[in-house]
């Protein structure tokens, strides 16, 4: 086997989520269709091919389980596009933008973890602006929603001193 390109793209959690969800659907579908013999043969091949490649099936379900609990759960291609457009003005690296997209940080502390040398590159106002962009464009993840519902009375504002 020859590796043609070891790193052809960085994928966001959302893209992996979409891919795995689609493949899961495909797998279900190929079990169902039983039309002409031609179609059946194609289904057999698709199914057998998918079998070889789905030895990793438990891995796939586990991955889907993990990713479904992250903020990418409610993302759509339009949201991702809007987010990346809004990010242009903040001058962050690709890796940093990817992390913000995957994690949807809600506090300054998290921004500082994900953005390299953030104390030098971003002022407090810029961090606040970044937080605002992130939380307004990206929908909350399932866990954040749950926590918010539980803590509605006791949420205290993070003081970026």
């Amino acid at each position: 086997m020859e590796v043609k390109d070891a790193n052809s793209a960085l994928l966001s959690n959302y893209e992996v989520f979409q891919l795995l969800t689609d493949l899961k659907e495909q797998r279900k579908e190929s079990g169902k269709n039983k039309h002409s013999s031609g179609q059946q043969n194609l289904n057999t091949i698709t199914y057998e091919v998918s079998l070889c490649y789905w030895r990793g099936y438990p891995t796939t379900t586990e991955t889907l389980k993990y990713i479904s609990k992250t903020p990418c759960r409610h993302q759509t291609p339009e949201i991702v596009r809007e987010f990346l457009t809004a990010m242009k003005s903040h001058k962050l690296t690709k890796a940093e933008k990817l992390q913000l997209l995957n994690h949807r940080p809600m506090t300054a502390v998290e921004i500082q973890l994900m953005v390299e040398e953030s104390e030098e590159r971003l002022t407090e106002e810029q961090i606040e602006a970044l937080l605002h962009t992130v939380t307004s464009i990206l929908p909350a993840g399932p866990e954040a929603e749950q926590k918010k519902n539980m803590n509605d009375m006791t949420v205290d504002e993070e003081d970026p001193a």
């Binding site: 086997m1 020859e2 590796v3 043609k4 390109d5 070891a6 790193n7 052809s8 793209a9 960085l10 994928l11 959690n13 893209e15 992996v16 891919l19 493949l23 495909q26 031609g38 043969n41 091949i45 698709t46 091919v49 998918s50 490649y53 789905w54 990793g56 891995t59 796939t60 586990e62 991955t63 389980k65 993990y66 690296t93 890796a95 940093e96 992390q99 995957n102 994690h103 506090t107 502390v109 500082q112 973890l113 994900m114 390299e116 104390e119 866990e143 993070e158």
Partner: protein, 203 residues
């Protein structure tokens, strides 16, 4: 944390087949139309060159991830992501000072405040945020026939190694979903404790 690579390890996409597949049956021999690729000649099968893309879990250096503590050992804290669990936080990358409680087999962070030391336990099942510091790939491909025979003739089983392991740090990134409150990680985020590896600049 996931990358797409042409040929590699990890999760597999259904291959994009570049040669025709014909339903099982007689040998397919098409030398004239093989486009430079040789078809396998055998009853009921066809071969060809296949190009495919792998989707692999491969976080980048310094990436922040959230996982769950799987357990502790003298080697450090073992963390799992569910689908991948060869993740280790070595003792020096825990928040310091840290000590290993032999009785309970758990790592403890002795957090100092004005009121005195608080013991914070790295309990199994707790969520933890960490930073990727290092990775190691080990070739676990099966060895050839001669060495396999030698192994089976001796009584021991070869040690099972994980093909890919991550070494991570929670010295500046740690956060736990329950129990720990925001002010604690904040103290660390402003400046990494001495001894924390300095992140390599990302361009």
């Amino acid at each position: 944390m996931t990358r797409s690579s042409q040929g590699g390890r990890g999760y597999h996409l259904p291959p994009l087949l570049s040669s025709g597949i014909l339903p099982g049956g007689a040998a397919q021999q098409q030398p004239g139309r093989s486009r430079g690729r040789r078809a396998l000649l055998a009853l009921g099968s066809v071969g060809g060159v296949v190009h495919f893309r792998y989707v692999v879990f491969h976080p980048f250096l310094d990436e922040i991830l959230i996982g769950r503590i799987k357990g502790c050992s003298p080697e450090g804290v073992h963390v799992s992501l569910g689908f991948f669990d060869d993740i280790l936080i070595p003792p020096e990358s825990l928040q310091q000072p840290a000590k290993f409680d032999e009785a309970e087999q758990v790592w403890v962070w002795e957090y100092e405040t004005e009121e005195g030391a608080h013991d914070l336990y790295m309990d199994t099942g707790e969520e933890i945020r960490f930073r990727v510091v290092d990775e190691s790939f080990v070739d676990t491909s099966p060895t050839g026939p001669s060495s396999a025979e030698a192994t089976s003739s001796s009584e021991e089983l070869p040690k099972k190694e994980a093909p890919y392991t991550l070494v991570v740090s929670c010295a500046d990134a740690a956060w736990r979903g329950t129990g720990w409150r925001e002010p604690l990680p904040r103290v660390l985020a402003w400046g990494s404790p001495p001894g924390t590896p300095v992140p390599v600049g990302v361009s």
